[in-house]
């Protein structure tokens, strides 16, 4: 489903080039559950942004469902984001003035889905994450876990193929974090490709496959069953050895 070939991304920070990603090669199959780990500044967020078509690599090929999306123009990219990719963020990013229902409807507004169908689908998705009774609540009337579940409903309402989650439990307590992960895994089980960026081993160990990044390079490939290997690599990376 995804093929990354020689992906590099360099930022200019105060006149100094910072190599966020250096020559990344990776293949991700449809329906996978992948965790990306790494110390801060390792390039894991940059990788997620490139996978989500919010950023472009300076070099390399990014093939998504057989298309080289790194070459698409801005208009085509927005269509890819709309229909193929869903995002879940650490800080939820709900629109504060809109209700839970309206937040879920938002992507469908841009996709031009007609109002009646929009409402029905949004309610269905809220029911799916157990929040139908909270449909008319605004984000500030919802708990952190509820907000993230609204965000998941919004991210998946247009049935994307790929769900990208950036520290989805980073702002949640253990219980609601687990609840959110269960929902994500349920969606993964029904065929959605799930990529989670996290520094939390408890989250990463649930993934089938784990990548550890350091200084823009993949330094470890493992699986959830052997999370301790990934953690060792990670702590070594964090300690600068």
């Amino acid at each position: 489903m995804i093929r990354l070939e020689g992906i590099s991304r360099t930022f200019d920070v105060g006149g100094e080039p910072v190599h966020a990603l250096v020559d990344v090669h990776e293949e991700i199959a449809a329906g996978e559950h992948l965790a990306i780990m790494g110390p801060s500044g390792s390039g894991k967020s940059t990788l997620l942004h490139i996978l989500g078509c919010l950023d472009r690599p300076d070099r390399g090929v990014y093939e998504l469902l057989g298309r080289d999306v790194a070459r698409l123009d801005e208009g085509e990219l927005s269509l890819v984001r709309r229909h193929t990719i869903g995002f879940v963020f650490q800080f939820f990013h709900l629109v504060p003035r809109l209700t839970a229902l309206e937040n879920v409807e938002l992507p469908m507004i841009f996709a031009g889905v007609d109002p009646a169908e929009r409402r029905e689908r949004a309610i269905g998705r809220l029911r799916g994450v157990g929040l139908e009774p909270r449909a008319s609540h605004r984000p500030d009337q919802l708990s952190g876990g509820e907000r993230q579940r609204v965000a998941i409903a919004r991210a998946t309402v247009l049935d994307p193929k790929l769900l990208l989650a950036d520290e989805p439990t980073g702002n949640l307590d253990t219980t609601s974090g687990r609840h959110v992960l269960e929902i994500l895994e349920q969606m993964n089980a029904s065929g959605l490709t799930l990529i989670v960026v996290t520094h939390d081993p408890a989250v990463a160990r649930r993934a089938r496959r784990i990548l550890v990044l350091k200084d823009g390079r993949v330094v470890h490939r493992g699986d959830g069953a052997h999370i301790h290997e990934a953690v060792e690599v990670l702590s070594a990376a964090e300690n600068g050895t």
Binding site: D55, S78, R81, H83, F87, R97, L106, P107, F110, A111
Partner: protein, 400 residues
């Protein structure tokens, strides 16, 4: 993204910042209200002047002795025009079918006295026809009786002011006053009229034209007022009257004046004034536009994360541009509507304070003010909206 969704989204965003929205709404409203009120004022002035002329009578043709063109020639040779006489007036009435009524006028000044009270007034020698030709009204008694024009009769009609000053607190009809050396019976008092064609019609003593000519020892008329049957015949009537009198006098020595020329000049001057007022008021609309731009720029930078999110959700550049543009246009057109309301109220107040002024905003000004307010929103909303579309989604999501 449908128009309804677009407007709904924009309206929700505006409602999120009531104070800020209210302030810029007010800015536009003041601009639009200013355009409406000031043009109403200008238009009111124009209608007032037209009304003044209409009250004198738009079918009026005034014949004055003398030519308006400057003529040369030897000093002492000619140049003195012939008298404009009652005979000329009769000939015009007989010989020009377009003329309905003729009112010969003689003017001078004279002292009117009753007992100890006396007053210097304009003495107007006139005929019964003047009442209709000059659109005068009678407050009490009656106007001059119909007489042969060269007959005299010791009767007079006083203007409103003259009557009040000479007979404070009572009706002078039936009393005998001295006008110069003549004793005359007051037969009527004019309705209040004010200044008209340069004469204060409230401070006059009107006597039969034959009498006035004797009193002032004149043989020439001051003016000959003619009422033309139809307004469309006015120019033809003037030509025929001037030609007829020229034939009688052997030279062209009278001038026919219609009000159209004067009225036209006034109308174009006051029309220009209205336009100028509209222009000045539009400046405040432009200022309001800058206000909208400021509000929208603040809104864009405040909602950076939201714009990043919209991009991540798959909103296209065009959709984001339209969403912010819709917000600006919604803001300015709501301000425009509010301005129309405020302007309408202001005009109502204006009319209540100055009932004489027919202040109404011309429809073009109302339409222009509103469409300008919408245009201002679109114009000044473009820059902030473009800024929103150009945000880098990754930076925007992290609030940078």
């Amino acid at each position: 993204m449908s128009l309804r969704d677009l407007l709904g989204f924009a309206a929700r965003a505006l409602r999120g910042h009531r104070l800020r929205t209210g302030m810029s709404l007010l800015g536009v409203a003041i601009g639009v209200a200013a355009v409406v009120t000031l043009t109403a004022l200008g238009e009111g002035a124009r209608l007032y002047v037209i009304g003044q002329f209409a009250s004198v009578g738009t079918n009026l043709l005034i014949v004055v002795p003398g030519r308006t063109e400057t003529t040369g020639g030897m000093p002492g040779m000619g140049g003195v025009p012939n008298d404009l006489t009652l005979e000329d007036a009769r000939a015009v009435l007989r010989g020009v079918p377009e003329i309905d009524k003729a009112a010969p006028i003689v003017m001078g000044t004279e002292t009117v006295a009753f007992g100890e009270r006396q007053r210097q007034v304009a003495l107007v020698g006139a005929t019964h026809e003047m009442l209709e030709v000059r659109r005068l009204g009678v407050a009490s008694g009656r106007f001059l009786p119909p007489l042969e024009w060269d007959r005299s009769s010791p009767v007079t009609v006083l203007g409103q002011t003259s009557a009040r000053e000479l007979f404070p607190g009572r009706d002078p009809v039936g009393e005998v006053v001295r006008v110069g050396d003549w004793r005359m019976r007051v037969v009527g008092v004019l309705a209040p009229r004010g200044q008209q064609l340069g004469v204060d019609m409230d401070d006059v003593a009107i006597v039969p034209v034959g009498t006035a000519m004797k009193m002032l020892n004149r043989s020439s008329l001051f003016r000959l007022l003619l009422q033309v049957r139809a307004h469309t015949d006015l120019d033809r009537a003037r030509e025929r009257v001037v030609r007829l009198i020229a034939e009688r006098h052997g030279e062209e020595d009278v001038t026919g004046i219609t009000q159209d020329a004067v009225l036209g000049a006034f109308t174009s001057i006051l029309g220009a004034l209205t336009l100028a007022l509209a222009g000045i008021a539009s400046v405040s609309l432009a200022v309001a536009g800058v206000g909208i731009m400021n509000v929208m720029l603040v809104s864009v930078s405040e909602r950076t994360r939201e714009i990043g999110l919209l991009k991540a959700l798959g909103a296209g550049r065009r959709q984001i541009l339209l969403a912010f543009l819709a917000e600006a246009v919604l803001l300015s057109s709501a301000g425009g509507l509010l301005g129309l309301l405020v302007g309408w109220l202001a005009v109502k107040v204006l009319i209540a304070v100055y009932p004489a002024l027919p202040a109404t905003p011309p429809p073009w000004a109302v339409a222009a003010a509103f469409s300008l307010s919408v245009a201002v929103g679109a114009l000044f909303g473009v820059l902030p909206a473009r800024r929103a579309t150009r945000l880098d989604p990754v930076a925007a999501l992290s609030g940078r």
